[in-house]
């Protein structure tokens, strides 16, 4: 412990920060995309149209039973095949770009389950009240149910996003340079595992701990409003 060399961290800070920026970009992209797709999936699952229900249920169950690392690698390899099939051309995507896609699709399955229980937590009478005012199904969802569901589920959605933020470290599987990947690459070169991995652990802890306390605070405040 006495020879913990802070200069290694200082020297490589720019590279680490670049990795952290990538991690945050993937997190935010997958959060926004995942919540949008997840909401659509949740509505499909709760709709009365059987094929839509099946599709949504299949989507959610498949992604929720497979390890994320496997999905990351599979998409990285399969995505170019699919694009080639569509366009007829070979399009190099790269590890860094494929992760945006993978995480959006993968997290959508988890967000959709959260949205589904959020929608179900809104009393059925609310939809009826919407219909009584002359709303269509879409309008009742848009103006009455979803705003309430979203508020109920906000803490859980944010908690899932903290998990997502941690999960981005698994792009290690395809060698993309996220925050952890950056530290790992520096370690391979400088052979300073203690400094590098500890830095990653500490920074992750500080960010996630702060965010989860924030979620707790939010949770108690939402509870008061209701």
């Amino acid at each position: 412990m006495s020879d913990f060399d802070f200069s290694v961290i200082v020297q490589n800070w720019a590279f680490l920060a670049e990795g952290l920026r990538y991690t945050l970009q993937v997190t935010v992209t997958a959060m926004i995309g995942g919540i949008l797709i997840g909401t659509v999936l949740a509505l499909m699952r709760l709709s009365s149209i059987t094929p839509l229900q099946w599709f949504a249920a299949g989507y959610v169950n498949i992604f929720r039973s497979v390890p994320l690392v496997q999905v990351i690698l599979a998409f990285y390899l399969i995505l170019p095949l699919v694009l080639q099939m569509i366009t007829g051309k070979q399009i190099p995507i790269g590890a860094a770009n494929s992760a945006y896609f993978t995480f959006t699709i993968f997290e959508a399955a988890y967000y959709s389950e959260i949205m589904r229980s959020g929608i179900q937590s809104v009393p059925r009478g609310q939809v009826g009240a919407g219909y009584a005012l002359g709303f269509t199904y879409g309008q009742a969802m848009r103006y009455v149910v979803l705003p309430q569901a979203f508020r109920n589920m906000l803490p859980v959605l944010l908690t899932q996003t903290i998990i997502l933020f941690q999960d981005v470290s698994l792009v290690y599987a395809i060698g993309a340079t996220d925050f952890f990947g950056a530290a790992d690459k520096i370690t391979q070169r400088d052979l300073r595992p203690v400094e590098m991995y500890t830095t990653v652990a500490v920074v992750y802890f500080i960010i996630c701990f702060t965010l989860s306390r924030l979620v707790k605070w939010l949770q108690s405040h939402i509870a008061i409003i209701r």
Partner: protein
Amino acid sequence: MNYHWDWMFFFQETDDGLKYYDWILSGLGWTTFVSLASLVVALILGSVLGVMRTTPKRWLVGLGDAYVDLFRNVPLIVQLFMWFFVVPELVPENIGLWMKQDLPYFVIAIVGLGLYTAARIAEQVKAGINSLSRGQRFAGLALGFTEWQTYRYVRLPMAYRIVLPALTSEAMNIFKNSAVTYAVGILELYFQYKQIIEKTSQVLEITIVVTLCYFVLAFVMNRILAFVEARTRVPGLIVGTKGSK
């Protein structure tokens, strides 16, 4: 699409004289072993931590809370790398050397995954105990039980029943999380998946097969715990509303 489907490659011989399906079976074996062993570690430690966090002793609560905060807010892969590459450097030299040379590396992986999962189990166990009425503890104490006996005979048996659905999903998750141990050299299912892709580039077939393997593992665990749930169900008592899916 010019992808060349070939389901028969599973029966082809590999460099080491085995067939590809042997690799998958061996990976499946390691995944099962690492997952179940980690689950045991996690259940024991998670229960102890969960109980600590419900005691009247403030320092025990603080210790349990700190553990959960620490292990929930650092990614699993980073935790595993800490156990493999950082901790051996920080402990006294002879212990560090022993960790690096003599301790089987799968033990470190199991402990790492177990400690990570324990934080999640601790949350469930705590929630289960806190969902019981205060009167249950009082009733135990009034009969002359010690504080520990109220946990052993009264509170934990009910708490486990209440959180069994949540524990079931944790137990199913551990198979998925065990895939991360490939990064520290465990030759489990995902490692074999990656290796087979590198050797054969039959991405689609192997993805389908490995996905099915994980599906089956999770399903079997789900059925086992559904059986436990049915066996421990208390007549006349409604516990929670959601069963395991």
